[in-house]
Amino acid sequence: MDKTSLLKIGKVLILSIEGEVNDFSVVSMQDMLLKEVRNTSTRGVILNIARLEIVDSYMARVLSDTARMIRLMGGITILVGVNPMIALTMVDMGLDIKEVKTALNLDAALELLTGLTTLGRYSEESL
């Protein structure tokens, strides 16, 4: 799991997926994240892929699945760090991750989730 780091700020978990992650470690990352969401009073999860080299169809599926799982558990997931090259490539090949909310950067994502946590009355739909 050296490729990823998990950080907790208040009620927000930040998972940064880095560089040369392989399929297996992506799945164990997902497991670890879900357990963490359950064991801590997490409200929101930020998936930071700023240091990820590419998003192929496997990674796209893992990202949407993870967001879907976290939603089932009652949390909110925001994806940040999609660089223009990745965005272009994903669109080119028809990859979409509709169900996953995105923010331009960590700050914007945190703001979104924090506003939500302190006010406590906005829900996923209003995000």
């Binding site: 040369e20 399929d23 080299e53 090259m85 028809g94 990859l95």
Partner: protein
């Protein structure tokens, strides 16, 4: 010319690294590098997923006009593909994939060739040219 034997998840990462290095060497733009690495990732994973093992060969090409490009050949002796048309259909997967690997790789590269024989194996050849 580089060759990667693909028989583990880590080899998919290796194939991507080889592709990135080759694309860097040829001076591809950042976007084209990303396209190439993504296509390679899809095709290498297909070998691992559907044929268990196989190989990737990377090679530089040069047109008469002087334009250079990068060719990747993915080969396996796996189960092969019955219906090529169907396999190339965006969204079709015989497993749990998104079914965007073959169609995606085709869209990302300049040339795409798929050959397969049931019970004998599959060959995918893709090329990207530096415009």
């Amino acid at each position: 010319m580089s060759r990667v034997e693909i028989c583990s998840e880590q080899d998919i990462v290796l194939a991507r690294q080889v592709a990135r290095q080759a694309a860097l060497n040829l001076g591809f733009s950042l976007v084209d590098q990303t396209r190439i690495i993504t296509a390679v990732s899809e095709l290498a994973r297909n070998i691992y997923t559907y044929a268990t093992s196989g190989s990737m060969q990377a090679q530089e090409l040069k047109k008469a006009t002087g334009i250079v490009g990068l060719e990747f050949v993915f080969e396996d002796q796996g189960p092969g593909i019955d219906d090529l048309q169907l396999a190339l259909t965006a969204g079709y997967s015989s497993g749990q994939g998104l079914g965007l690997g073959l169609s995606g790789a085709k869209r990302l590269m300049d040339e795409f060739e798929l050959q397969s024989k049931l019970g004998q194996g599959t060959l995918v050849r893709v090329v990207k040219w530096t415009k």
